[in-house]
């Protein structure tokens, strides 16, 4: 059947209607699950499989606070393989190249379905090529919290990688030799999974903060090393030197300035990566020049945001996970650098979630189409290479959503008549900034009016599309197989698009 953005989805799933359709729904949470007794210390990952016990067909969840430095998912996967367990469902909040060993487990039917918010590397290729028996469900960060709270994702065992814990089961991500920062994504799992297991390499008598409350924790396992702190760095931590990216970043900040949004009380979010760092850098310059003090910055936190915070350009930081060690350090020492849990961050049903208080969010894109729909999930060849994460959540919630993207890169146009995969609906997107012009969504007549005398190159998205085709000509349509291997689940639980098997050739 076709959904509200005219995409084919399999029968039996709830079709996407509109980005604000959730307002008509009643939210019903399942009961929180408290530990029945004092947390029990176990000697190994293997021991937990016997004691619970973990069996065929169970759903296990994990989190990506160590990002590409995560070691826990692979430890658990190895035990599943050793025990020959089958038909397992994995629900990690993200999957990175470090999780390559999962590919074998998928091919051999140990793992047959996955829920996640972001996927890259070998596992993404394995699923794209159709090796997983059942479907991949791609949630958003806020949507994953919703799905767990409502029981849409029914977790049997939640494994929490913590950098330190005490013997009672309290834990955090900041103490110990391998810190990773605030553990914002673990909370829905911590509250609603049937069994909760803290895995750490450091047991302390007293923690500097009890970010994880022992009353939800059933087991503690000490391993030799839980993760690599250096792996949390997301791509580069330096500002881009690419003149095109710098132009896009400067134009973005000039646009925000022309819209009169650089003012006291400003709240702001952007992602990691060198262009986002450049946007933060130029925004900082404007805020300092105009003596502006913002209210808060949020999201995954980078050192460019902690530096703005330390320069007192923001009152507070709301941090769901740290993207570098400077951000971890800032969380440890600043009381106004707050941990933000996934539901509080962006669950559509969490009243006054932090994302809804954002004035501006700056997001990236793999493709944008003439209806302003954005793809951040699949590549131009339809292969899985990312995911929404907080993209759809913040795009909907923030007062102004700006997408920054190259118009053309390596002779591939980034603005298309139709995106390969819709991750975020165009109704949530206000402006697209490219190196060859800025397109405002015609739905935002107020913005068009404000920018009518602008010296910036404001142009219809159709004209940007034509400029791209003038350079690249129209690319051949992407061919993929008919079999659906995954679904993009919008934050309200409806299906916004399908992901198809990619031909090996």
């Amino acid at each position: 059947m076709k959904n509200g953005v005219q995409r084919m989805i399999p029968n039996g799933y709830k079709p996407f209607v509109s980005d604000d359709h959730f307002k008509q729904e009643v939210y019903q949470k399942i009961e929180k699950v408290y530990a029945k007794k004092e947390a029990q210390m176990l000697a190994s990952i293997s021991a937990i499989f016997d004691i619970i016990p973990i069996k065929d067909g169970m759903t296990l969840s994990f989190h990506h606070h160590y990002r590409n430095g995560d070691l826990l998912v692979n430890m658990v996967a190895e035990e599943i393989k050793k025990r020959g367990l089958k038909n397992m469902t994995f629900a990690p909040s993200s999957i990175f190249p470090v999780h390559k060993p999962l590919s074998d487990l998928i091919k051999n039917k140990h793992i047959t379905s996955i829920y996640t918010n972001y996927i890259s590397g070998d596992v993404a290729d394995t699923i794209s090529y159709g090796h997983m028996k059942d479907l991949l469900i791609m949630d958003t960060h806020g949507g994953r919290a919703r799905a767990i709270e409502t029981g849409d994702i029914n977790i049997d065992v939640c494994f929490i990688a913590a950098s330190a814990a005490d013997k009672h089961g309290n834990a955090n991500g900041i103490d110990g030799p391998n810190p990773c920062g605030p553990l914002g994504y673990i909370y829905p799992d911590l509250y609603y999974a049937k069994h909760k297991v803290i895995v750490t390499d450091t047991i302390l008598d007293k923690l500097s903060s009890n970010d994880i409350d022992h009353s939800f924790v059933d087991y503690i396992i000490k391993v030799s090393q839980i993760g690599l702190s250096t792996g949390i760095e997301s791509g580069t931590t330096q500002m881009t030197k690419d003149p095109i990216q710098l132009k896009i970043a400067k134009d973005t900040v000039n646009l925000v300035k022309e819209l009169g949004l650089i003012k006291d009380g400003l709240s702001f979010q952007t992602g990691a990566g060198s262009t986002s760092i450049a946007v933060s850098h130029f925004l900082k310059g404007e805020m300092v020049k105009q003596n502006i003090k913002g209210s808060f910055a949020s999201g995954g936190i980078t050192k460019s945001l902690t530096s703005m915070f330390e320069d007192q350009l923001f009152d507070d930081l709301y941090d769901v996970q740290s993207f570098d060690l400077e951000a971890v350090e800032s969380y440890k020492k600043n009381k106004h650098h707050h941990l933000m849990d996934a539901s509080q961050y962006a669950n559509p049903f969490y009243k006054d979630n932090i994302a809804s208080k954002l004035d501006i969010v700056i997001l990236g894109a793999t493709e944008v189409d003439l209806n302003f729909n954005v793809n951040v999930t699949t590549s131009s060849t339809h292969k899985l290479m990312g995911g929404s994460g907080g993209h759809s959540d913040t795009a909907y919630e923030s007062k102004l959503t700006i997408i920054t993207t190259n118009l053309v890169k390596s002779r591939i146009p980034f603005i298309k008549d139709h995106v390969e995969t819709i991750s975020t609906p165009g109704t949530s997107v206000d402006i697209v900034v490219t190196e060859r012009g800025i397109a405002v969504n015609p739905r935002r007549k107020d913005l068009l009016e404000k920018l009518k005398d602008s010296l910036l190159n404001i142009t219809p998205i159709e004209s940007l599309y034509q400029k791209a085709l003038d350079i690249t000509y129209k690319p051949e349509p992407i061919k993929h197989k008919e079999r659906i291997i995954g679904l993009i689940r919008y934050r309200d639980g409806s299906i916004i698009d399908s992901i198809y098997e990619v031909d090996h050739k």
């Binding site: 030197k241 003149p243 095109i244 132009k247 400067k250 002779r411 190196e435 350079i471």
Partner: protein, 275 residues
């Protein structure tokens, strides 16, 4: 008047594709030092093809050639200007003849101009003769090659090229053409670039070549008249209008006498501010 001219090696498709997005007044498509010897044929081929398919508007298209015969392979309507390396009066005369022939052959609708690259001790001393050659509408100082000829090391302060800068400026300005400053080679040092531009502008340069797109904003900004200059120029011109109405030959602004050079400078500033 030009302000910013960006060098782009002509053998790099990714760079060619984006030359028109950085607000440079002109692009110098480089076939000379920016292209390895083994790549020169490919660069000419690519550039010819680029001009055929990409129609750049509102931007000066300049080609830095290796030798005059390069023009046989790349000449087309899109080229506005030829940049001649190690320019001297003899080669400029030959270039003028060659361009006249090619303009007829390709029925070009405009006359091709020339920027003379002044980068040898001899051309510094002959700068005025070079500026007087047909088609030359700008002198570009090439300080890197010049320093090699002089056997000196380039410094941030640029004392070693001060004489050369002045020769280029005096020759260019005496002929009413552009004095274009040598590029600043440290592409990561924007503070150093800004100081270099301010100094060159103070001496009399009106434009600067750039070797990285990230330098263009500084060059455009600093070579544009400042708000303070524009306000003062407007004040001078208003006072002149009033003096004309009152039939006064001489008048003063802020207690200082205003004469013709000051009025001409005010007119120049207002003109430049509108470009």
């Amino acid at each position: 008047m030009r302000k910013s001219l960006l060098f782009i090696p002509a053998n790099h498709p990714g760079m060619l594709q984006n030359v028109d997005i950085f607000d440079a007044d002109g692009i110098i498509f480089d076939l000379e030092d920016g292209v390895a010897l083994t790549e020169k044929d490919a660069a000419m081929d690519l550039l010819a093809s680029f001009f055929k398919h990409f129609h750049l508007k509102n931007i000066e298209k300049i080609v830095r050639i290796n030798e005059i015969n390069d023009l046989d392979l790349i000449m087309c309507e899109q080229i506005d200007t030829v940049c001649l390396p190690k320019a001297d009066t003899d080669v400029l005369k030959l270039l003028d003849k060659k361009l006249s022939t090619l303009e007829k052959k390709y029925r070009l609708t405009h006359k091709i101009q020339v920027i003379a690259l002044i980068e040898t001790p001899e051309s510094i001393l002959n700068a005025l003769s070079i500026a007087k050659q047909p088609r030359v509408n700008g002198l570009l100082l090439g300080a890197e090659d010049l320093s090699t000829y002089l056997g000196v090391r380039r410094t941030l302060e640029g004392k070693e090229i001060e004489f050369a800068r002045n020769m280029v400026i005096y020759a260019a300005k005496s002929m009413g053409i552009d004095a274009i400053d040598t590029p600043f080679t440290d592409t990561n040092d924007i503070d150093g670039l800004n100081k270099d531009i301010e100094y060159a502008k103070q001496l009399g340069m009106n434009a600067k070549a750039c070797i990285h797109p990230n330098q263009i904003e500084s060059v455009n900004h600093l070579f544009r008249p400042s708000q303070e200059d524009i306000l003062f120029a407007q004040k001078i011109l208003l006072a002149k209008e009033q003096a004309d109405r009152e039939g006064l030959g001489a008048f003063s602004v802020d207690g200082k006498m205003v004469d013709k050079p000051i009025i001409d400078r005010a007119l120049q500033i207002i003109k430049a501010s509108k470009e």
